[in-house]
Subunit: 356 residues, 2 copies
């Protein structure tokens, strides 16, 4: 890490490409002046936007490619047509080769994860990646993982998620020992969650000085902010996240239709507008835009595909924080302190490998 | 089924026992005059409440027992102390022996499910029970199952859930071919949801004239009401349900605190009160109180433990509908029509069995 934080941006990712990515970077730069950018994508589209921004221009480079990954490409298709040459791959490669401290893409999640695993690769001794989302709660924010990187997880993988999520929470919330809960169902003596029970045993009995394990929590604890880090496997985590988003939208629609139904309620709305603005701000998905890919040998952030410049700026700042406060080092510390198998630096290559 | 619908009520279940169950039954009776009740529990507590209600009294019987299942009893403990004699067990037994057309309890879910499986037993050829919840959506209501009866489900069990959920939807929404979706995650080509994919294949390729299979849906489709019946296994279903409840509560709190922050917003609130009342009514959990246990050889309804008389009345009316319009027959039809292995009447006992 130099004095600056260098971010590689997949400028062609997302629904709007450079028209959101470039102004998003500019907004982030206004708040974090030590940012430096590498925009990856079609120079003909990127260059005019960057050059028109006198603050952004001196801190930006462009890496040209015309190959892009489409939002609806299946991961296998994306890999076939975009490996080694797409804007997504080249942004990841910059993070892998340490030309950048983090890579950010608003491109499609499946493709980004597949490419991340192939290009950036996993941290040694971490089996599986997780996507960690920031979840607004009544107490503030929590981290929920995995929200859909992989399906199913054994006890050891859930423990990895706990350690990695806690490392992210240490940075994001600036607390030494974030509280961690395992998502479970309330019914006692239910069969089939052996891996969750076993993960609880490992977390309880192991020594994990960088996290404070609080046992099981249920779905309604997420929004309460009962714990800083909520750990679950990717299928249920993804469904929880999408269901919460759907519920928030649904209530927003109820509210809108209720408010506009009568003249009096419209007047009431105008008077209470400040309150509604506060509410809207609380529920603004742009403020918590960005999923962190955990378990990779580099910092990779996924932005929502449909976000605007303000939302993309949040993702950039999330990447900034993860790089500036060294997420990877925090994860390594978490494992090492915890007495779990530490993902050390790669061991000495065997003789044959060294000779090659 | 006689001209009346007879409901067995676990009068001691829930946080409030007879003080909610008896008035709840009375409210339901005012809307469905052909209801008849069997209150099971401590006669000393039930009798005065029933006798004080001149409408309720002539249509009610009391089955006395002082054994109750506590709200925090583990299923194994509940079975040990409550089998054959608790108010929960005896209410279920009334449904089993057709002394009642349905059993309703606000007691603890795990105990009620364990006792239901032992006392009421499963329908022939249905492996596993499911708990089906009614979920308010922007379009109206949907049915979501399983919200926590069991953990994990193979493809065939998910198909059973689809058929049973559709049977419930036919009654509740009065539509011939309810739409059905399988809850899945959006990431393409993700491994580990083979059973969900296989269930989709079975539902697509089989002949299911009593349901209209629409493929996969995601968590945010639930609140949109994309399909009438959402099918998933119990772990993710329970987490989805609890997460949605938590999100609704969280937004309610945001709204309350925003509204009461300034004088103007308070005035606005008063003017828009009607709108807020509409919203509150939309979000009122009492109106959709009641989970239906599907797959049992009898109708069993679980009411929320903490509900009030109005909420308990909703659960009673749900039981009324399921019994009046013959849920079990609808399920049998669904299987038979669908060409799936039909849960026929029990086959002829083998010779040895017949002789016993």
């Amino acid at each position: 890490m130099t004095d600056t934080v260098r971010i590689a941006l997949d400028a062609m990712g997302g629904d709007h490409g450079p028209s959101v990515v470039v102004p998003g970077a500019s907004i982030a730069l206004s708040r974090k002046p030590d940012l430096r950018f590498l925009f990856v994508g079609d120079e003909a589209q990127i260059r005019p936007l960057v050059d028109a921004d006198p603050t952004l221009k001196p801190v930006s480079e462009i890496l040209h490619t015309t190959v892009t990954v489409a939002m609806d490409d299946k991961p296998s298709v994306a890999l076939r047509k975009g490996r080694y040459k797409s804007s997504m791959w080249l942004a990841l490669e910059a993070a892998k080769t340490r030309k950048a401290d983090a890579a950010i893409s608003a491109g499609n999640t499946g493709a980004l994860m597949a490419m991340s695993r192939l290009c950036v690769r996993m941290m040694p001794n971490v089996d599986r990646p997780a996507i960690a989302a920031i979840w607004p709660t009544t107490r503030g924010e929590s981290i929920v993982l995995d929200v859909g990187a992989t399906i199913g997880a054994d006890a050891r993988q859930l423990v990895d998620f706990a350690v990695m999520g806690a490392a992210m929470a240490r940075i994001l919330f600036d607390i030494e020992r974030p509280t961690v809960g395992l998502l479970n169902v309330g019914v006692e003596e239910v069969k089939g969650v052996e891996e969750v029970k076993e993960a609880a045993r490992l977390l309880r009995e192991g020594h994990f000085p960088a996290l404070d394990f609080r046992g099981f929590i249920e779905g309604d604890d997420i929004g309460k902010g009962t714990v800083d880090v909520v750990v679950t496997e990717g299928f249920s985590g993804n469904i929880a996240l999408k269901t919460a988003e759907g519920t928030a939208k649904q209530i927003g629609e109820y509210l809108r239709s209720a408010i506009t139904r009568t003249f009096l309620s419209k007047v009431g709305y105008v008077l209470a507008k400040h309150a509604f603005d506060t509410l809207r701000e609380k529920m603004d998905p742009r403020k918590v835009n960005g999923g962190v890919f955990l378990g990779l040998d580099g910092v990779v952030i996924k932005s929502h595909g449909g976000t605007d410049a303000e939302g993309f700026a949040s993702a950039v700042e999330l990447g900034y924080d993860m790089a500036r406060y060294d997420l990877e080092e925090k994860i390594r510390e978490g494992f090492a302190q915890d007495g779990a198998a530490a993902p050390d630096a790669p061991s000495e290559p065997a003789l044959a490998g060294a000779a090659s």
